[in-house]
């Protein structure tokens, strides 16, 4: 019952071993840093009740949630002709569950459900795939991993400083040296709307200002005018668009701009506190990798305090990490006043950056170090003994499972990029000196098992 060529759904990917080793390297690096900072793992189900997800991502987001068809006879409780009901109204009748769209809403749902058992402040990390019915295009997939860490249950800005430390450590360990962390505070965006005379128009201001990088100041101004911002307001905004200088200078300028506006003053104080906490941790100023940017808005997010975004420099790839502080994670699930701050890494983006910078070249990978080759039943048996000993020492080893020509065995090693081969002839069984071939350099030497282990582990 062959059915011809199989395929995978558009926007999804198989990750072959080579890609997996690289992805695991990235994820394990991030995971390790999260753990060193006291974050603990959490996993939530792929499926959530549809009611948990709908209404959390805006109308557009609701459209992009993958819904799961109820099992069994899902039409049994429907009496009206579904074609007359229409897909939109039919969906909740034939689908109770959906695939998670991000990790934040399931996390909020988890915290709301388990708040009496959780020790706050709660530091959790979560690395799981999410699904979105977006139109697939280059760099945008329907299934992709998110890699989040959040601290909820404290307002302390020590946490924001810890996130800066973590960002620094992750990029350092991945070998990504050229990057900038952009930092803003939502309170300053609010203050700006108030100062320019359009209080409450924060969302419109953010949406427009968020595009500054992509479309330029002229187009942003057009959009603001279109949205009813006055000429005088836009004139007032001018210093915001091209605020130059060091972080200290920027803070001084924005302080002059917000003047007596109290929410603006609070935002400035928060930024200064984060910088001071970073210095308390490291002894250094964050100026070398953090740029304050009062136009950073990260779309229509739920951030209420710090807004963080990281861009890799010298590559054609957008932001590789982002996050911020939110005041009300679980309010929508009936648990108000839980403040938190979080950070998320984009695995696919990091992968692309590292590939573009050729950073995967020399990294340690969890793959076979040595292939044992043999000629006949007798040398196979000797090789099995060696394989078992090497494996018991934790050395990733394989023995070619069939008696084949050495050429075929070495070609297998080549295909799998195995760096060493041990070749066992009948002499070797008696002398206990085995031929170790370095498959990268082509050299070989005759060694005892102990000698071989030393070379492989060096």
């Amino acid at each position: 019952m062959s059915q011809g060529k199989p395929s995978i759904p558009k926007g999804t990917r198989d990750f072959n071993p080579e890609k997996m080793l690289r992805r695991n390297y990235i994820m394990n690096t991030i995971k390790k840093v999260y753990q060193v900072y006291g974050f603990l793992p959490l996993e939530t189900p792929a499926m959530e009740n549809l009611s948990v997800l709908t209404g959390k991502y805006g109308d557009e987001g609701d459209q992009l949630i993958f819904k799961i068809l109820n099992s069994g006879d899902y039409l049994s409780k429907i009496s009206e002709n579904p074609l007359e009901v229409g897909a939109k109204k039919l969906t909740p009748l034939i689908s109770e569950k959906a695939l998670r769209y991000d990790l934040t809403v399931p996390f909020a749902r988890y915290v709301a459900m388990n708040r009496h058992e959780i020790t706050f402040p709660f530091r959790r990390y979560q690395i799981q795939p999410v699904w979105r019915a977006d139109r697939p295009q280059k760099g945008r997939y329907r299934e992709f991993y998110q890699c989040d860490a959040d601290i909820v249950g404290t307002d302390s800005l020590v946490c924001e400083a810890e996130i800066l430390c973590m960002l620094e450590q992750v990029f350092n360990e991945l070998g990504i040296n050229a990057y900038k962390v952009k930092l803003n505070n939502r309170k300053l965006l609010t203050a700006i709307t108030e100062v320019c005379g359009h209080p409450g128009r924060e969302v419109d201001l953010c949406v427009a200002i968020d595009k500054l990088d992509k479309i330029g100041q002229e187009e942003v101004v057009k959009e603001l005018l279109l949205k009813g911002f006055s000429d005088s307001a836009i004139a007032k905004l001018n210093p915001i668009f091209d605020l130059q200088g060091s972080n200290t200078e920027k803070l001084a300028k924005i302080e002059a701009f917000v003047g007596g506006n109290s929410i603006g003053q609070a935002g400035i104080q928060e930024l200064r506190d984060i910088f001071n906490h970073y210095t308390a941790f490291t002894g250094n100023s964050p100026d070398k990798f953090v740029d304050i940017d009062f136009t950073l808005a990260r779309g229509l997010s739920y951030y209420t305090g710090a807004i963080i975004e990281v861009k890799a420099l010298n590559v054609s790839i957008g932001s590789i990490s982002g996050g911020g502080r939110y005041d009300n994670l679980t309010g929508v699930f009936g648990v108000p006043n839980l403040s938190g701050v979080g950070i998320s890494f984009g695995i696919d983006r990091l992968y692309d950056v590292m590939e573009e910078l050729d950073l995967f070249k020399n990294l340690y990978t969890d793959s076979t170090k040595v292939l044992i080759c043999h000629f006949d039943t007798e040398t196979l048996a000797e090789g099995q003994k060696l394989a078992y000993l090497l494996r018991s020492k934790g050395i990733y080893s394989e023995i070619y499972p069939e008696t084949s020509k050495i050429k075929k065995q070495l070609s297998y090693a080549d295909g799998k990029k195995i760096p060493f081969a041990i070749i066992i002839g009948s002499d070797e069984i008696t002398t206990k000196q085995y031929t170790l071939k370095n498959l990268l350099s082509g050299t070989q030497e005759s060694l005892t098992l102990e000698g071989i282990i030393k070379v492989i582990q060096s």
Copy 2:
């Protein structure tokens, strides 16, 4: 827009940090053994095209596949009233994709699609969740992880022996000492049907015999009679039901039973070869943990050679691992003659076994080792410096992010089961001797940072 108490779909689970640390410990142990044996990671998408999955798991399996509703107006191409079409025929019209049901079919699909790039024999491991619309009950979930390793592209029985070695190493490292690996060969089941005069009735024989453990010999005989097996056939089967003795004795007895039956002789030779290869690897006989069992069938699986199942002893839990050899992994996808052998661990079952045997007690977990406590802004800053130094040494550390009463800070450590606290008073800043409190024993001592690191890492 609070919506009251949220919940998760039945049959699914949140894994809190404590459970995650234990699950990760189990999965990392298995992963490490797989890697040492040369297996490389593969991941496939959660969603597969429905056509890839249907028809692979029998009619009952098809019912249990979670289908994903097409996005957008999924009714637009339907003209007939869906209520008249019926759910069964409607499903493929409104759903193109489904959640994977196991890891084997996606693996087969991957191998068929990528066979020209793969280096054979291909050793891959895959640890991912699968989804089944089964009725949830104790120990049966709608989302659960599978943890598979397969070698495809070789008939060599060296691979079966490697699987026995891996099983031994995994259980040894997890601390599970009381277990038995049951081993059979499908060829012997075939031979038995031939010898007892019902050739080709292998499936019926397997289904009945598979229940021997659960319902006993008498009921199995009843079922065989009901299915048309003759009295004389069942009389002939008698020695199969209560074959006692060592593996060597069992092999001798089955040899007498199958007589000149060639497929039976082949099955016996394979079992002997697997034993010999195991001994070549380890120097030991597998008799201490492997029991040949000619009634082992593992349901209606696709196994054609070895059949493997592992049971933990002294606990009330069923099989914890299983696998076997199959002749034709990818035939259904148009690529014939690819033989392979695989093994799979049940993470949930292993978790339950380890909990029942209290094996999680002393295991190393990836959680915070030390909490730094402080009294005011000045001691917080000193603590931040320490936290940063400890973290740079890879020691999982936290600093309490708020200035709170020491009692509250220590209660946080208690809730998170953190074993050590460093308490920094203003004296400590000048002396650089800090108070290290062992939160398990209640003792405390005054130490330099170096001294603290030594104690924590010991």
